[in-house]
């Protein structure tokens, strides 16, 4: 199983979670079998348009099974769903390790499509 979490930096499990999915600087890709973590740069974070779609594409290309974030924009939500990636909501968690622990403990609820988009 592969879990993806938006991250502010490319560091380690103690790195902070990015508040946004589509506009995150990096994505932490965690292999849940061996607890290995790697980071990929979100090359579309500063795109004027469709950042959420591009971010979802990146996650699908990584072969992710699940993604956890505070907020998914409507287009990212639709694209991730189409890729059969499980969308999970984060709330109190601040560090990647906290989100990962809660994920493994089965504490993360499935996410609803949230508001989003901009001009």
């Amino acid at each position: 199983m592969k879990l993806i979490i938006p991250a502010v930096k490319a560091e380690n499990f103690e790195t902070k979670i990015h508040k946004n999915f589509g506009r995150a600087n990096y994505f932490a890709v965690i292999n849940c079998e061996n607890n290995e973590i790697e980071f990929i740069k979100n090359t579309s974070a500063n795109k004027n348009s469709g950042a959420g779609v591009a971010a979802a594409q990146l996650c699908a290309d990584q072969g992710a099974d699940a993604a956890a974030a505070y907020h998914f924009g409507p287009k990212a939500y639709e694209a991730l769903k189409a890729a059969d990636i499980k969308l999970l909501d984060l709330n109190e968690q601040k560090l990647i390790t906290e989100a990962f622990n809660d994920y493994q403990a089965g504490k993360l609820a499935e996410s609803e499509a949230g508001p989003g988009g901009h001009h």
Binding site: S49, A82, D84
Partner: protein, 292 residues
């Protein structure tokens, strides 16, 4: 017949007085055309033609790709090509995000399987009404759509250069704003004497300077103890302040009842006519300075 000039009305933020100025100025003049290009929230009609939805209407269409899944081999060339991320490849199927598509048609061209065709989709609407001296057009973006520029482009095809053209632009410094003002001869920037007003005025001035667009300022909700905020800035930058519309309960009440105050408050028709003369003078002066 001599050519009239075209004018765009702009503000750094919403709620500053664009509608107030555009509507009252248009109603004070003869042989005038008012185009409401604030397509995400057009509201000039409230004062000009409240039942605009029952008047002439035409659709603004855009082309959106449609993928034939039978022919698609998931080669991904279209997804990689799309600069706007309107396409995604999920489980070997192409997903189209219509709202972000800019209708460039590139995906159709790069598809080696001819799996992509285009379909028409309504993006927005134009409304039209004609009053005695005023030809009124309104652009409106459909709810849920994100691209205002094509609606403004279509609206601009209605410009009648034999009339005094006034374009009420979208506020701010975005692409739709630039589309609305870029071809006009002169821009009037509406601002208010507050810290916010000044901040947003500065943004707009920077944009207009980058565009080499001639402009002057009108202060709305003017108050003698606050106007210095705007006046000091304008003086330093060599920007003319052409008119002050006072902060007045009467004007606010008329506005909230959908009544243009130019008809209700004595002397204002004359003031707006003078404003128009001043604008022409500014435009001509700037023209002269630029050509020197």
């Amino acid at each position: 017949m001599s050519q009239e000039i075209s004018l765009s009305i702009l503000s750094g933020k919403g709620g500053t007085g664009k509608t107030t100025l555009a509507v009252n100025l248009a109603l004070a003049l003869d042989n005038v055309q008012l185009l409401d290009a604030d397509v995400e929230e057009p509201n000039d009609y409230l004062f000009i033609s409240p039942k605009i939805e029952e008047k002439e209407m035409e659709s603004v269409m855009s082309l959106i790709p449609e993928v034939n899944d039978e022919k698609c081999t998931a080669c991904r060339k279209c997804v990689d090509f799309c600069e706007y991320n309107a396409l995604a490849m999920m489980l070997d199927k192409v997903l189209v995000f219509e709202e972000v598509c800019h209708s460039c048609g590139g995906c159709k061209i790069v598809c080696p399987e001819n799996a992509i065709t285009e379909k028409e989709k309504e993006l927005g609407k134009l409304y039209h009404d004609r009053l005695d001296e005023l030809d009124f057009w309104q652009g409106e973006l459909n709810t849920g759509e994100e691209k205002a520029v094509p609606v403004i482009e279509k609206l601009k095809t209605k410009i009648d250069s034999d009339k005094k053209v006034i374009i009420d632009s979208p506020p701010g410094t975005t692409c739709p704003t630039i589309e609305a003002i870029i071809d006009t001869d002169f821009t009037v920037v509406v601002t208010e004497p507050s810290t916010f007003g000044l901040h947003d005025l500065k943004m707009v001035v920077e944009m207009l300077n980058n565009l080499d667009q001639d402009f002057a300022v009108v202060i709305n909700r003017a108050e003698s103890d606050a106007d210095y905020l705007i006046e000091d800035f304008c003086q330093k930058k060599g920007i003319s302040v052409l008119l002050k519309i006072p902060f007045s309960r009467k004007i606010a009440e008329l506005y909230s009842n959908g009544k243009p105050f130019v008809y209700k408050l004595e002397g204002w028709e004359e003031k707006f006519k003078t404003l128009y003369k001043d604008i022409i003078e500014e435009a001509v002066n700037n023209e002269r300075n630029n050509s020197n």
